[in-house]
């Protein structure tokens, strides 16, 4: 009886329970701390490290790490740390926005396919399969090649490239989310509580928004987390191939692209951005893994 009373005294909520499960994944917790530190660094970094990103100083070019330049300097004597702080904002912003695009499109397509039986469902799933079998990077490169100049003219060089990269990366990554949402809806919509809602006269839209989607959110959050990592890699890859952001926007991939020809005399210039990309991606992936454990209420730990 005493044990039961104690059990009752402990508050349980889905969030608390998820947090309790998340904490068990040690690497995920460490990763969350690392990622938070990185976010904090790129958020308040420019306030603490007041070196401009484009201050050219030929007397100090290609210098290794020192007190004046903790991450060294590049071929124009620009401070690598300042550039990486600035670039980190863009890289993470691209990752988050592309994830948002992918999740929104995926949830829309998945919900539409899941709620409509018959030809709409079949057609949307055919489209999803088609997109899954598209070669991503070649298509990404093709779209950027074809639309680069047009969007630059409309939105300016920085905004244009940003919007395009976000839309293209997001537009090529919605398929797993769509499949997940559809599968979840197919199983949830046959559950009793949905039937109860339908019996009470709830509209289809209300059933989807209030009853089904919240219950299908767990896997979507996990997929979304991993999408952030994938989008960061995709953006870095584009920039690394010289087809992403222009040189004056030093995203991590772009810095790496500029640094790769100086590998023999200034390895630090390439190592720092590469390590940052890796650190961001690996921590996001571990967090995704931890969330997978945390957000699956049926999983016994």
């Amino acid at each position: 009886m005493a044990a039961a009373g104690k059990e009752k005294a402990r508050r349980f909520s889905p969030t608390l329970e998820a947090w309790r499960r998340f904490r068990r994944h040690k690497l995920a917790v460490v990763s969350a701390v690392i990622l938070l530190l990185m976010v904090a660094a790129i958020a308040i970094g420019p306030l603490l490290w007041r070196v401009p990103i484009n201050e050219i100083d030929f007397t100090a070019k290609l210098e290794g790490p020192s007190w004046n330049h903790p991450f060294g300097t590049d071929d124009l004597g620009q401070d690598v740390l300042a550039r990486l702080i600035y670039g980190g904002r863009i890289s993470l912003a691209v990752g988050l926005s592309a994830m948002a695009v992918a999740c929104i499109v995926g949830m829309l397509v998945g919900a539409l396919a899941g709620m409509s039986r018959g030809s709409v469902d079949a057609g949307l799933m055919w489209l999803t399969d088609l997109f899954l079998s598209l070669p991503q990077l070649p298509l990404l490169l093709l779209v950027i090649y074809l639309f680069r100049d047009g969007l630059k003219a409309v939105l300016g060089p920085e905004g244009g490239v940003f919007v395009m990269i976000v839309i293209v990366i997001g537009g090529l990554r919605w398929m797993p989310v769509a499949r997940l949402v559809r599968a979840q809806i197919l199983s949830i919509r046959e559950k009793e509580f949905v039937e109860a809602a339908r019996a009470l006269g709830a509209s289809r839209l209300r059933i989807v928004l209030n009853h089904i989607l919240p219950n299908a959110l767990g896997p979507v959050i996990v997929a979304g987390t991993i999408d952030v990592a994938a989008a960061i890699i995709a953006e870095s890859t584009l920039s690394f191939l010289g087809l992403g952001f222009p040189p004056d926007i030093p995203t991590w991939g772009r810095v790496l692209f500029d640094a790769k020809d100086y590998l023999d005399i200034a390895p630090h210039w390439a190592l720092f951005p590469g390590a940052l990309i890796f650190l961001a991606v690996v921590s996001i992936n571990f967090i995704g893994d931890g969330l997978r454990d945390a957000l699956d209420p049926r999983r016994v730990l």
């Binding site: 991503q136 070649p138 093709l142 074809l146 047009g150 191939l241 010289g242 087809l243 190592l271 590469g274």
Partner: protein, 320 residues
């Protein structure tokens, strides 16, 4: 395995190829700019000639007609003419394709050779120290972007140790065994970069698949019959667990191609990936379109192979 299944799979591949070609063509058609933009601004080209050229290439036709013309030309093997190299696009691609296929193929081989034993060991001893180490390393492996691993390897093995060349050459000045050795030496780094990246994600699939199979009843039956653990693993578990892995290897192909483009660019391998980048930088539209289409065809081909292999390996698949 019956023939109907094969034929049906082939018939499904055709619409997906058509769908991909429609997506590619729509992207091209929506893009601003004009393939004859250069001619339009060139004052030496009279307006009548320009109009005649446009009419000849059907540029003023409605879009679906242009798509059909393009598709028919592609099927006939008339892939156009590279603006930059002054060669037919199909010869250009055929020259470059073997290098790409060689690198991708060897990388897949390495990935499988690494991932199979590690994944099986980790899957048969779940949550052991080995499993945890393998899992963590796998996470690290597929979080390392190929462009960074490539640069790291160049830094260590070419610049610091000076063991391996970092530029891939198709014209090696050597004969016989020397040639083979030089060829292997220059392929080691690109293949390792791609192979480890692939292997890392493969380890997790193998492990998950082994875990799924290991708790099936027939495995318990095999153990209770007194068959040794090693034999149970190799003869009973692995054989079944590999079926979904085969499919996954083929389904991973789009990602492999992305990795191949990056690797070819870093190590300057003369494959179709570096051809794509070079053509993009040189505004060589026919080559860009054709290479993208070749990549798409390869992906569909590998999906087809995956499905066929799956049907052949797994007798539980129903051929309706």
């Amino acid at each position: 395995m019956n023939r109907n299944y094969l034929i049906r799979r082939l018939l499904i591949a055709v619409p997906s190829l058509l769908g991909i070609s429609i997506v590619l063509y729509t992207v091209l058609a929506l893009a601003p700019g004009d393939p004859f933009g250069e001619l339009a601004t060139n004052p030496n080209v009279p307006a009548e000639v320009r109009m005649a050229l446009r009419a000849k290439f059907g540029l003023d036709d409605p879009i679906y007609l242009r798509y059909f013309h393009w598709l028919v030309a592609m099927i006939h093997g008339d892939w156009g003419f590279s603006f930059v190299s002054r060669v037919d696009v199909d010869t250009l691609i055929l020259q470059r394709l073997p290098a790409t296929l060689f690198v991708i193929g060897s990388a897949q081989l390495i990935a499988i050779l690494v991932a199979l034993p590690v994944g099986v060991l980790a899957g048969t001893r779940p949550y052991s120290v080995f499993d945890q180490i393998a899992n963590t390393l796998a996470f690290v492996g597929f979080s390392l972007p190929t462009f960074f691993t490539g640069l790291l390897l160049i830094l260590i093995f070419s610049i610091q140790l000076d063991w391996l060349p970092f530029v891939y050459r198709s014209d090696i000045n050597a004969h016989g065994l020397q040639w083979v050795w030089e060829y292997i030496k220059q392929a080691i780094m690109p293949v390792t970069v791609l192979g480890l990246f692939q292997g890392a994600s493969l380890v997790r699939y193998v492990r998950a698949s082994v875990l799924d199979v290991a708790r099936l009843d027939y495995v318990t039956t095999a153990r209770s019959k007194g068959i040794g653990e090693r034999r149970v693993i190799t003869r009973h578990i692995v054989r079944t667990a590999l079926i979904p892995v085969v499919t996954l290897v083929a389904l991973q192909m789009p990602i492999v191609f992305s990795g191949a483009i990056v690797t070819e660019q870093i190590f300057r391998i003369p494959g179709i990936g570096s051809l794509l980048i070079a053509s993009i930088l040189a505004n060589d539209t026919p080559v860009v379109m054709a290479v993208t289409f070749v990549f798409a065809c390869l992906v569909v081909l590998f999906n087809l192979i995956a499905d066929v292999l799956y049907g052949w390996l797994d007798p539980r698949i129903a051929f309706r």
